[in-house]
């Protein structure tokens, strides 16, 4: 019966059609590994860099080297082979790896080994430095939360960029612009209402509602896609997604 077969499903199997950077980086195929590393680095390099700067109080130059070293070792040393989502979240695991790397790394040996300041990834460290300057320094005991928050910032930043490109390619730049002004705008003094936006863009207020709903829906879709890439199983993805978009019971939704 259709309603019977509908129940259940492949709850324990990670859908093969959904690509996972974590799975890819553990692959035997060099191309897959490189692609996986690229995706993980895109989401995590800023949190890693900022964490090294603040947790280990390293100079910008040292933090750059250690960040590059970290992602290099992610592949070379197979850091992620020891990752078990049932035991810890990926961010916790990565932080432990970073801490181990920084504690054990001999700066001169590292530079010698890697041939000075050779870089494996092209990363815009200046922007990360700029962001650090805008942040309130976290308390020493809350660096785990800091890493988490910076990861969310990085993931959402990538999703916003992808949404911008997506809207542009689909001729929906106005949708993105409304989303940017209403949901991303930080200037509380000039926070716009739906009516303000309708006047500014010569739209009906209901259009503003619909355009914003579209942009938010697409943002959620893209953010979830990126999150899925950073997880190794469907269960882990659901846990992470609930954590990312979830509510604490009792909180206004």
């Amino acid at each position: 019966m259709p309603d019977d077969t509908a129940i259940g499903g492949t709850a324990d199997r990670f859908p093969q059609t959904r690509w996972s950077a974590i799975v890819a980086v553990r692959s035997d195929n060099a191309t897959d590994r490189a692609r996986g590393l690229e995706a993980i680095a895109a989401s995590y390099w800023k949190p890693v860099y900022k964490y090294i700067r603040l947790r280990w109080n390293r100079s910008s130059e040292d933090a750059k080297d250690l960040t590059q070293e970290f992602f290099s070792r992610l592949i070379e040393k197979g850091f992620l082979n020891g990752y078990d989502p049932a035991k810890a979240r990926l961010r916790t695991f990565l932080r432990v790896c970073i801490d181990g790397l920084v504690q054990n790394e001999d700066k001169s040996a590292r530079r010698l080994k890697r041939g000075g300041d050779a870089q494996i990834l092209s990363l815009d460290f200046e922007s990360a430095e700029g962001e650090l300057a805008r942040l309130d320094p976290p308390a020493p005991g809350s660096l785990g939360d800091f890493f988490e928050q910076e990861w969310v910032r990085s993931l959402f930043g990538l999703a916003v960029d992808a949404l911008r490109a997506d809207c542009k390619s689909r001729g929906k730049s106005v949708h993105f612009r409304l989303f940017e002004l209403y949901d991303l705008n930080d200037d509380s003094a000039s926070h716009l209402t739906y009516d303000d936006l309708a006047r500014q863009f010569d739209l009906a207020p209901t259009d503003v509602t619909n355009y914003l709903a579209f942009a938010r829906r697409e943002f959620r879709r893209i953010a979830l896609e990126k999150l899925r890439e950073m997880t190794a199983s469907d269960d882990e993805f659901r846990r992470e997604a609930r954590s990312l978009f979830g509510f604490d019971p009792g909180d206004p939704a």
Partner: protein, 344 residues
């Protein structure tokens, strides 16, 4: 990449996670509960100015198959207009594409919590009778619940009982009309969906296996359901769960940790055993029959599940006519005493 402030992150999280109720008559008030398939919010119906519960497809679990299932649950509820079943008011799709339905907001407590305040067995059994009535009504409408357990029963402030969470409900006999109302819920659409207990006011303890079989909730599901023999399920499968529920009501312990023999009177233990028989043919044929046996016990009448001997009958007779029995006994004792006194 643009810099996103902490405030922007908060807004993005909220915008992406919250349902978009624009264009609807509802205003979001607060989060209530989350399950495997949906999230329940308290909302205000701005037209009728009353509070309702909105069950909205979980954005994380969202898929066409699950959307069809949520709609299906709403349509099943719409068929079940009964005081013991939570009424559905509205169904639709939000601007953000998520399917939702609006239902009565039940301001009560879950049965397992409510029982902490009820210690009288007759009172518990009367409450149980209301649960059986609601389930029997659903059976009469050709619908099985398939996930009856204390967490799926709410008790309102005036003692009203509501059977909740019909997300796993199944039609006993699919009619052509049913197929039409169930949308285009084809196996191809849903085979890869992960379905868990729909969000309601419940715990998420239901377990679902892969490939079309349900485990339901351990302790409350009949053997045929646990085996995944879904074609064998009929109203006696819900009778099994009702038996487990009765055992829970009487012992306060989950069925897996208590046995009917433990502390119950023999007739009640026999009722539980019969309802929870491994073989469906040995169970009560319907929820009404089970409820009738419980009602007979309440009225100190013989129950069908327990063939009693002479002493049992006498004991029940005495229990049923206690005052008359005491009067006659007193009369006889006085009579004997008077005879003894006057013989001297």
């Amino acid at each position: 990449m643009n810099w996103l402030s902490d405030d922007a992150l908060r807004r993005l999280r909220s915008a992406a996670g919250s349902p978009d109720l624009s264009g609807t008559r509802y205003r979001l008030l607060e989060f209530v509960a989350r399950g495997g398939m949906g999230v329940v919010y308290l909302a205000e119906d701005s037209v009728l100015r009353r509070r309702v519960a909105l069950k909205i497809l979980d954005p994380v679990a969202s898929s066409p198959g699950l959307a069809a299932r949520l709609l299906r649950e709403a349509r099943i509820l719409a068929r079940l207009e009964h005081p013991g079943i939570v009424p559905v008011h509205d169904v639709g799709t939000l601007a953000d594409g998520r399917v939702f339905y609006a239902m009565k907001f039940v301001e009560g407590r879950r049965l397992d919590h409510h029982l902490q305040q009820i210690h009288s067995v007759p009172e518990r059994l009367r409450l149980y009778g209301k649960i059986c009535e609601a389930v029997a009504f659903a059976h009469a409408r050709g619908i099985l619940h398939r996930d009856l357990k204390p967490e799926n029963v709410m008790v309102g402030p005036f003692g009203e009982v509501l059977v909740m969470d019909w997300g796993l409900a199944k039609f006993l006999h699919r009619q052509p009309e049913d197929a039409a109302t169930l949308l285009d819920e084809s196996p191809a659409q849903t085979a890869n969906d992960t379905v868990a207990t729909p969000a309601a006011h419940t715990s998420d303890s239901s377990v679902h296996t892969a490939h079309g079989s349900i485990l339901g909730t351990p302790g409350y599901m009949p053997p045929e359901q646990a085996r995944g023999d879904l074609h064998l399920l009929d109203q006696r499968s819900d009778v099994f769960a009702l038996g487990a529920l009765l055992l829970y009501l009487l012992t306060g312990n989950p069925p897996s940790t208590s046995s009917p023999q433990a502390t119950l009177s023999r007739p009640l233990a026999a009722i539980c055993r019969k309802a929870m028989a491994a073989d469906p043919a040995s169970r009560y044929p319907s929820a009404s029959d089970l409820a009738a046996d419980v009602a007979r016990f309440l009225d100190s009448e013989p129950v069908s599940a327990y063939p009693e001997g002479l002493f049992g009958k006498a004991g029940r007779f005495i229990s049923r006519h206690r005052i008359a029995f005491l009067l006659v006994l007193t009369f006889l004792v006085v009579r004997v005493l008077l005879l003894l006194v006057f013989r001297r």
